[in-house]
């Protein structure tokens, strides 16, 4: 049982970290700002999300688990809002784009 849990955790954390790496590479490789926003939000949502889920079993108490989850929720909100704001500003700056 604990072995299974460890395997699942490893997969989750590994995938999460992979998403971070992919997000970074996307931020570097994508040609314009809109696509870069796309790359970034994957790291925020999926990367941190999987990392958080993978780390949850390590929490010593329910409060700690709650804190970890709250981190993710906050980052989720912050990243979506900032993605919207940045894209919105870009749109306003150059209506043709």
């Amino acid at each position: 049982m604990s072995l299974l849990l460890t395997i699942v955790q490893t997969i989750l954390i590994g995938t999460g970290v992979l998403f971070f790496l992919v997000g970074s590479i996307g931020l570097l490789r994508f040609p314009d700002t809109y696509t870069r926003i796309h790359a970034l939000t994957k790291a925020d949502n999926l990367g941190l999300g999987m990392l958080v889920v993978g780390l949850l079993p390590f929490a010593n108490s329910p409060q700690q688990a709650l804190k970890i989850l709250l981190c993710w929720v906050l980052i989720l909100a912050a990243s979506s809002v900032s993605a919207y704001l940045v894209a919105n500003k870009l749109q306003n700056e150059e209506p043709d784009a």
Partner: protein
């Protein structure tokens, strides 16, 4: 973990170099924010979670916003004053643009090279001296960690850093709060008086800049954008609650007055950035709040002398509660200090006499949700409209 440390150290050097080598000030500021995040991680590796917490709140959050905001105000002014005579253009460029440096460098290239060489040698010498000092460090004369560990049972507080700050070395902290107070007094005295808008601006270009700043801050951002409004409405209470939690946690684990104060200031800054008018109706409350922490600290420090104890020597059994009381007051004052240095910055354009307090943050957010435009302070709105006409 060694690889992590090496990467992190080199990353910090890279980020710092990025700050210094950036011709573009915006890039330098973003690099600085990045440096703050890396520094917070470095504090974690140095087993200093308190410092990491402070750096996360201050370095990565507050300072970056302050710098970005200043840059925006400077550039807005520059745009508004686009048709200045060349001499003053150059002066303005000193703050913002990259071309001014090149222009200044042109007369005196050899002189400049000499300067570069001298400064480079100086830096190199200091680097060598510091590294030599690191390698040839003397043995520690006293073992501070064990002394702290011995003192903790009597300190009335479990967390060693809070114990050092507010018990063993409380003199330093008292003086630090005094320094903060002096800083904010200077900052407040440098702000532009609210009634000097018209007198100060001999040309409409500047009025335009102020007007633009006013419109940009108060009506458009917070009032018209529902997503931003909703997000900040939910974020600000969370930040305030976390500030309270960090203050409370400071007695047993990393946290305390400074980090909590930084969070409270951050809440105010968010409210401000989102366009809420966090002006308090009570000017005196701000003044009072600024000195509250220092006054309480000083009163407690002095009043123990009536019991025949030395200055700042808490009575037995009272230390814990006294320290927490002082910390709570300090949190409030530090938050207000940092916030008012931000809000009262001259040339901010928007309501130069804005006052802020926790209470008014709340009232501001409720008013702001109804309509973003209608929450100007009554004394100031007439003036702003006069500018518009």
């Amino acid at each position: 973990m060694i690889a992590f440390d090496i990467l992190l150290g080199l990353g910090m050097l890279l980020a710092a170099a990025g700050v210094f080598w950036s011709a573009d000030l915006f890039r330098a500021i973003v690099m600085f924010v990045v440096f703050g995040v890396l520094l917070a991680l470095a504090w974690l590796r140095l087993q200093a979670p308190d410092l990491a917490l402070a750096e996360a709140a201050i370095g990565a959050g507050l300072t970056g916003v302050l710098l970005l905001d200043t840059l925006s105000v400077l550039r807005a002014k520059k745009t508004a004053a686009g048709k200045l005579p060349p001499v003053d253009q150059q002066l303005l460029n000193t703050f913002t643009s990259t071309r001014a440096c090149a222009a200044q460098n042109n007369h005196g290239k050899g002189h400049e090279n000499l300067r570069f060489l001298a400064v480079g040698l100086l830096s190199l010498g200091i680097l060598i001296a510091l590294q030599a000092a690191l390698f040839m460090r003397p043995e520690a004369a006293v073992n501070l960690p064990s002394m702290v560990a011995e003192g903790i049972p009597d300190a009335g507080i479990e967390h060693p850093i809070t114990a050092v700050l507010l018990n063993f070395r409380s003199y330093d902290t008292l003086l630090e709060v005094a320094v903060l107070l002096v800083a904010v007094i200077i900052g407040l005295s440098l702000r532009i008086p609210s009634n000097s808008n018209e007198q100060q601006a001999p040309s409409s270009a500047l009025i335009g800049a102020r007007q633009a700043a006013y419109a940009g801050v108060i009506s458009e951002d917070g009032g018209n954008d529902p997503i931003l409004r909703n997000f900040t409405q939910r974020l600000i209470p969370l930040v305030l609650v976390t500030g309270g939690y960090i203050l409370w946690a400071g007695s047993t684990m990393p946290g305390g007055a400074f980090q909590a104060g930084a969070l409270i200031a951050a809440a105010g800054v968010i409210a401000r950035l989102a366009g809420y008018n966090i002006a308090s109706r009570v000017d005196q409350l701000l003044r009072f709040g600024l000195v509250l922490g220092f006054l309480v600290f000083l009163t407690v420090a002095a009043s123990v002398m009536f019991g025949g104890r030395p200055f700042l020597n808490y009575p037995d059994g009272w230390a814990g509660s006294l320290i927490f009381f002082i910390e709570a007051m300090l949190t409030f004052s530090i938050g207000l200090t940092l916030l008012s240095l931000f809000v009262h910055s001259p040339g901010d354009g928007a309501e130069p006499n804005a006052k802020s307090s926790q209470r008014s943050v709340k009232s501001g957010s409720t008013v702001g949700s109804d309509n973003g435009v209608g929450n100007r302070p009554p004394g100031n709105s007439g003036k702003a409209e006069a500018d518009h006409d």
